[in-house]
């Protein structure tokens, strides 16, 4: 039986100057490089495959398998691109990881690039986090100075250069092919697949794109072995993952645990829902994953468990909302976000998200009729699965799930002639102010 919490990536976050190479090296940092260099790249891929590591950016695709799709007989250069564009509403794990321990990401980049035989890697960080970018820039510079990057790393004959690239504000660039467009200096609009990036990615060359947490998980796997990683988690969802609790919870924050932990267990650790209130709805993995309710407190938070409950594990972004929150207001705000962030390439998403906002705004204002809910679901049906990427699909998730669980609350807006909730009761400072 493993412990309830298993700090691996978060383990150095309480260190003084945890972002420094000296701090990381003192805790065994960069020791995995020589372990890997003593093996063939294919052996490193096999280890990551055997570990069962699945993508931590939301989709859960097996990381080692993704690496093995890189056609090594292709004469073009191979590239590794780290997706550090963390922007999914509720998701807040990669940012503190890069702030507190950027070297574990850099070490992961070196190991992963060696495995796929890339000599150039890019870390694409969203632009809106200047201090995180400073920390990663400095970590890369320190790694060069220490001989962990550059030519003939550790005398292995292997060369690697890393570029830290700042984005410029676009949620869509978290989608891997839109990210590549951004990295090629273009508008961040997704590409049609196939071809998949493994075959034709950056500059139409074979490219692996992985989330920050996926890449940062690699050093410990290489050092401790696939069996060590597999000793945590569940049968098909192995290893540790960072769970991010936010919203109406007593102690919001980052909790690194084996996959398969439940929200009930996490809430127990986090002091429960804020005092005097009850859980109403939550997202398991960001706003693009269908809402769940108190009846799902014991769902194992792994890819299979959350899928069976009708949602998705996503990025383990657990946004907790108590009974003071109007679900229609919450869903409308997410929908406005998707409308704003739709890149405009595909008609169902570009036009559909605008229609969704209009329909939801009317409902929130208490205008319309019950039939409008069915029309809203019909609009969702015309968006879901009809575009290049999953942004439009994500836009429909909160709407269809909220109507499934809270149809009566939508109707209450109609009978009440507007929103029956007082937004002041939901704020972080509600109940603390002195009423005059």
């Amino acid at each position: 039986m493993t412990d309830t919490l298993t700090p691996v990536l978060t383990d150095t976050w309480d260190a003084e100057q945890g972002w420094k190479l000296a701090t990381y090296a003192a805790k065994g940092g960069y020791a995995a490089l020589d372990v890997a260099f003593a093996q063939s790249p294919d052996d490193v891929i096999a280890t990551v495959k055997d570990s069962g590591l699945r993508g931590r950016g939301g989709a859960g695709f097996p990381t080692g398998m993704k690496w093995s799709f890189i056609p090594q007989d292709n004469p073009k250069p191979k590239y590794l691109v780290v997706n550090a564009d963390e922007s999914e509403p509720g998701t807040c794990k990669d940012i503190p990881l890069m702030m507190g321990n950027p070297h574990v990401l850099v070490e992961g980049v070196i190991l992963s690039s060696y495995a796929i035989r890339a000599n150039k890697a890019f870390i694409y960080i969203r632009g809106e986090v200047v201090h995180v970018i400073r920390r990663v820039q400095a970590a890369v510079a320190e790694a060069y100075a220490a001989g962990h990057l550059g030519k003939d790393i550790h005398g292995s004959g292997y060369d690697l250069d890393v570029v830290v690239h700042a984005g410029a504000g676009a949620y869509i660039c978290g989608e891997e092919t839109a990210l590549l467009e951004g990295l090629e200096g273009r508008r961040g609009q997704p590409r049609l697949r196939p071809p998949f990036p493994a075959v034709a990615g950056l500059y139409a060359s074979p490219t692996v794109i992985n989330n920050v947490e996926s890449i940062a998980s690699v050093p410990a796997i290489v050092k401790n072995g696939a069996a060590w990683f597999g000793a945590m988690g569940t049968e098909k969802s192995k290893g540790h993952g960072i769970f991010s609790l936010s919203g109406h919870v007593a102690r919001p924050g980052q909790y690194e645990a084996p996959l398969g932990i439940t929200l009930r267990e996490l809430l127990d650790l986090a002091g429960g829902v804020r005092e005097g209130h009850q859980l109403k709805f939550w997202t398991p993995g960001g706003s693009s994953t269908p809402l769940l309710t108190a009846e799902h407190l014991d769902v194992p938070l792994d890819f299979e468990g959350v899928g069976a409950a009708g949602s998705m594990l996503g990025t383990r972004a657990l946004q907790i909302f108590d009974e003071t929150v109007c679900v229609v207001r919450a869903v409308l705000r997410w929908t406005e976000f998707y409308k704003h962030e739709s890149c405009g390439k595909c008609t169902p998403c570009r036009e559909g998200t605008w229609w969704l906002v209009q329909a939801l705004t009317r409902l929130e204002n208490g205008q319309g009729a019950e039939e409008d809910l069915d029309q809203l679901l019909d609009q969702c049906d015309n968006i879901l699965g009809r575009s290049f990427c999953a942004l439009g699909d994500g836009a429909t998730s909160p709407i269809s799930s909220s109507i499934q669980y809270f149809r009566d609350e939508y109707l209450a807006h109609l009978s009440h002639g507007g929103c029956p909730f007082d937004p002041a009761r939901a704020t972080a400072w509600a109940g603390q102010e002195v009423t005059a």
Binding site: T6, G100, H131, A168, Y255, E341
Partner: protein, 237 residues
């Protein structure tokens, strides 16, 4: 705010950015960050300069500059204040903070507040989408540095301190620099502030602190066979 022309040093730095990549056009996003750090916004001159260096049309550069929200077509303040009004922060108080700041600064979204007599610095205001700090909600960003766990009152005090030219620090980052200085970091030119601020803020450490108190760790790799045997035994029961 006056717009200074792009000098030879800036043109050389734009070329330096393009040279970091196997294909120069990959440098366009950071190049635009640099251009607006020098000029305070994306100008026709900045667009032409990027286009000339990358040997693409100004229309192509313009298409990119208009796609990404961090590029500003009009000037912003020395301190650009972004209030998260995505669902979670909005619910936790972001809506109230944004309303209070609009009212206090007497401006709307994406506008610059008037510089009053005695103000040494200017402030602009924008509502922003999720900035990946939900465990610190409601969150305000200033020049893309975290100002965690804000209230309407703390946000008003903060913008007044900024306008007065007082030193203000991020709640888990460095002393705030100006928007232009921050944009230069995004272009890939470090400013030496990396060692300011903590390793992690309090919410980031919530789980780790519990693990430390209870002695919880990841499995010991040396003790692994025992772990596996125990699991097998459990499975057989």
């Amino acid at each position: 705010m006056s717009t200074q022309p792009l000098d030879d040093k800036t043109i050389a730095e734009l070329r330096e950015i393009a040279a970091r990549y196997p294909e120069p056009r990959s440098g366009l996003l950071p190049m635009l960050h640099l251009a607006q750090s020098v000029q305070g916004r994306i100008t026709p001159e900045g667009i032409e300069a990027c286009a000339a260096i990358l040997e693409i049309s100004a229309a192509e550069v313009n298409g990119v500059a208009t796609f990404y929200t961090m590029y500003k077509r009009h000037g912003v303040g020395d301190y650009h204040v972004g209030v998260c009004t995505n669902t979670l922060c909005a619910v936790m108080g972001g809506d109230a903070i944004f309303e209070r700041l609009k009212d206090h600064l007497e401006i709307g979204n994406d506008e610059v507040a008037a510089q009053r007599q005695g103000d040494s610095r200017t402030v602009s205001l924008e509502h922003i989408e999720c900035n990946a700090a939900c465990d610190y909600a409601p969150v305000v960003m200033v020049n893309w540095e975290f100002m965690d766990n804000q209230t309407p009152e703390s946000a008003v005090q903060m913008v007044e301190a900024l306008r007065a030219g007082h030193e203000v620090s991020s709640t888990r980052g460095p002393k705030l620099c100006t928007w232009r200085e921050a944009e230069r970091v995004l272009a890939g030119f470090p400013d030496g502030r990396v060692d300011e601020g903590p390793t992690a803020g309090p919410a980031s450490l919530a789980g780790l602190q519990i693990a430390r108190e209870r002695g919880w760790t990841a499995p010991d790799p040396a003790a692994l066979p025992a772990v596996e045997a125990a699991q097998k035994a459990e499975g057989q029961q």
